[in-house]
């Protein structure tokens, strides 16, 4: 794999945007500025970006309740997302979806999803649409160690294999399905074996290593575009926050998150790799850091100042015709 300078800069920027977006949300939620349930993606950025840097705008993607990172990586507007999460007019979904239901069909982003296991069957359908049109596009379904125990996921995997649909099932094992460790909830503990048993290859990568994720995803995407059928990606990773904001995280071991932040943080890993290889300089990356912080500041300021959705929005967009 040889990424250009611009591609490397872009990948770092995307991961950094996701990180700062989430870190800032954590602060603003603590201030009581944001309504509803919010599930932060901090720590998993290399998964979303490593996957999505292999995709074109017209490739399709479905996400999860922990979807901010997937949305940003797929190209959703950061300021529109922030307004949406604030429940404000001008949000990406006019404030009617919120954190768990961000979508931007123009970017091929078919929606975050509040139902664990809700997304994979949708991805199979989107893949059928692309297959039938002969576009060579793929549909990506994000999920985790929680969704890997849902029947909908098994049905979707089997159907994708039966139909040779160009789906890529990305499984981010962040170790906790809500507050329960996967070693308890996944019967065999063997997510890869379970997925392979459906009859598709599973490409594995360290979820905190952008380059490993990128390479694994490339193999899966190439298969999909060539009409060779579905694949899966297995990405062990950690999340830096709880299941949902407000989660006391008393299920974790002592210093677990501290250790995770020290050893599993994709951003310093990326920085070390590209600077040691002299692909980018620390100055390049510092500049991005500054720009991203400014972007997030602006996004929060604009979202905070934006008006609430007008009352008539309650009634609109239920049907196209009724």
């Amino acid at each position: 794999m040889q990424l250009s300078r611009d591609e490397l800069l872009r990948a770092y920027r995307q991961m950094k945007i996701i990180r700062e977006f989430e870190e800032r949300l954590h602060i603003e939620i603590g201030r009581g500025e944001i309504p509803g349930f919010t599930h932060l993606y901090s720590g998993q950025e290399a998964c979303a970006v490593g996957v999505c840097e292999n995709l074109e705008i017209d490739d399709k993607m479905v996400s999860t309740h922990r979807g901010h990172g997937h949305c940003i990586a797929k190209g959703c507007d950061v300021k529109g997302m922030m307004k949406e999460i604030y429940g404000k007019d001008g949000g990406l979904c006019n404030g009617k979806g919120g954190s768990m239901h961000i979508a931007d069909l123009d970017q091929g982003m078919l929606g975050a999803n509040g139902i664990v296991g809700g997304g994979p069957p949708l991805a199979v359908g989107a893949a059928i649409a692309e297959r039938n049109r002969g576009t060579g596009r793929v549909a990506v379904s994000f999920g985790g160690d929680g969704s890997i125990n849902q029947g909908t996921v098994f049905e979707a995997m089997n159907l994708a294999v039966v139909l040779k649909a160009p789906v890529i099932f990305v499984i981010e094992n962040n170790h906790y399905s809500e507050h329960t460790h996967y070693s308890y909830a996944v019967g065999s503990g063997d997510i890869v074996g379970r997925t392979k048993a459906f009859g598709m290859p599973v490409f594995e990568a360290d979820g905190s290593d952008f380059f490993a994720v990128y390479d694994a995803m490339k193999e899966a995407v190439d298969r999909g575009r060539a009409g060779e059928g579905p694949s899966a990606l297995y990405l062990p990773i950690v999340r830096f926050y709880g299941h949902v904001e407000g989660d006391p995280q008393n299920y974790r071991g002592p210093d677990e998150t501290k250790k995770n932040r020290e050893t599993m943080d994709c951003l310093p890993k990326f920085r070390q790799r590209v600077t040691e290889a002299a692909l980018l300089t620390n100055e390049d990356l510092d500049k991005i850091d500054e720009e991203v912080l400014a972007l997030i500041d602006e996004a929060v300021a604009e979202a905070s100042a934006a008006p609430l959705p007008p009352m008539e929005m309650l009634y609109t967009d239920v049907y196209n015709e009724y």
Binding site: K60, V62, G91, L92, C93, N94, G95, K96, G97, H101, A103, D104, L105, D106, L110, G111, N113, G114, I115, G118, P120, P121, L122, A123, V124, G125, A126, A127, I128, A129, E130, R131, N132, A139, G151, T152, E155, A156, N158, L159, V162, L163, T316, D317, V318, Y319, N320, E321, Y322
Partner: protein, 336 residues
């Protein structure tokens, strides 16, 4: 005009819409049948032959035989619709909707609203409903009321072959998710059906019989029983108006309210269990919006609050009958 059964009318509609628009696909269990078998593909064309001939004509990319995976079928339909196709999914029996409610009520129904109006989900879910052939508690239900309660979903409950073809055509060409219920006891019922395509609009009820004394609202197979009861009540000097709403969502409330305002009496005939049913829904609408016009209590003719029994005598007793409709009409006439 040629007479066609409801089964043939629906099959004809599917052929015509697949011919008209290459984005229309059909998916479901055994919609071709025989895949991977010596006698396949297209061994049966659907368990009730509703999709016969489609596979041979349109091929496996557009006529997709699926594993027995209801959640994946409806979920894939919703995803395909989001991505620009017009999927017509078949759920073999509506009783199986319990296995695939999420992709209808949390996914397809809500995309447009949750995504701020930017998504369209033009999917149709065709499914078979109804008791009367001893198919027992898990293959006989009429659960359109709980699907009607979902904002974002439309529901059709055709009572005859003409409406079946026209409503399905509207459903496939429309932009919203539709639950389309086919009563299995009506598949062979025939009436005049044009060969060419036509649409029957959603939300427009059909006044199948004009009358002055009692309004009877009935759905699907119950429309036929209501009309038979009304025929016999003529001899008793009772004039019934019979309304077939044709769709439960949207519901032609105006037609029902106008009729009750003229007759002053209402009997609702519904094949579903009585609680939270279309019968109770319509009773609520009329009681809250036309109470002053009522000359008698509203009567509901429904099955009891039980599962559907297997034994033919018990199933017969479970179902609303012509005689029970007549009795309820006679009672509201005596209430004066």
């Amino acid at each position: 005009m040629p007479e066609k059964s409801m089964r043939d009318a629906i099959n004809e509609c599917l052929h015509q819409e697949m011919e008209r628009d290459e984005n229309v696909i059909v998916l479901g269990e055994d919609v071709a049948g025989g895949m991977g078998s010596p006698g396949g593909p297209e061994a049966i064309g659907g368990v009730f032959s509703l999709t016969a001939g489609l596979f041979t004509k349109y091929g496996e990319q557009r006529v997709i035989d699926t594993p027995i995976s209801e959640s994946a079928i409806v979920g894939a339909a919703a995803g395909a619709a989001l991505a620009g196709l017009r999927p017509v999914a078949e759920i073999m029996f509506t009783d199986f909707m319990g296995l695939c409610l999420d992709p209808v009520y949390n996914q397809g129904a809500k995309f447009k609203y949750m995504f701020g109006g930017k998504a369209k989900t033009p999917m149709v879910i065709r499914t078979t409903m109804g008791a009367g052939m001893s198919a027992a508690a898990q293959h006989s239900q009429t659960n359109y009321a709980w699907l009607t309660s979902i904002p974002g979903v439309k529901c059709a409950v055709p009572s005859n072959a003409y409406d079946a073809k026209g409503l399905l055509t509207s459903a496939i060409r429309g932009e919203d998710p539709v639950m389309y219920f086919e009563h299995k006891m009506l598949y062979m019922a025939a009436c005049e059906v044009p060969d060419e395509s036509y649409t029957v609009p959603f939300g427009k009820g059909n006044l199948t019989r004009e009358g002055s004394d009692v309004t009877i609202v009935a759905f699907a197979r119950m429309v036929h029983l209501a009309n038979e009861a009304a025929d016999e009540l003529v001899a008793e000097g009772i004039s019934c108006e019979v309304i077939d709403p044709r769709t439960t969502s949207p519901l032609d409330e105006e037609l029902i309210l106008e009729s009750v305002q003229q007759t002053g009496r209402l009997v609702v005939v519904d094949e579903s269990n009585p609680r939270c049913s279309m019968a109770s829904d319509i009773a609520g609408i009329v009681a809250s919006q036309a109470f002053d016009y009522l000359d008698a209590p509203i009567k509901l003719v429904t099955p009891p609050h039980t599962p559907i029994p297997f034994a033919p005598n018990l199933e017969y007793a479970y179902l609303p009958s012509k005689d029970r409709i007549k009795q309820e009409v006679q009672q509201v006439m005596e209430a004066l």
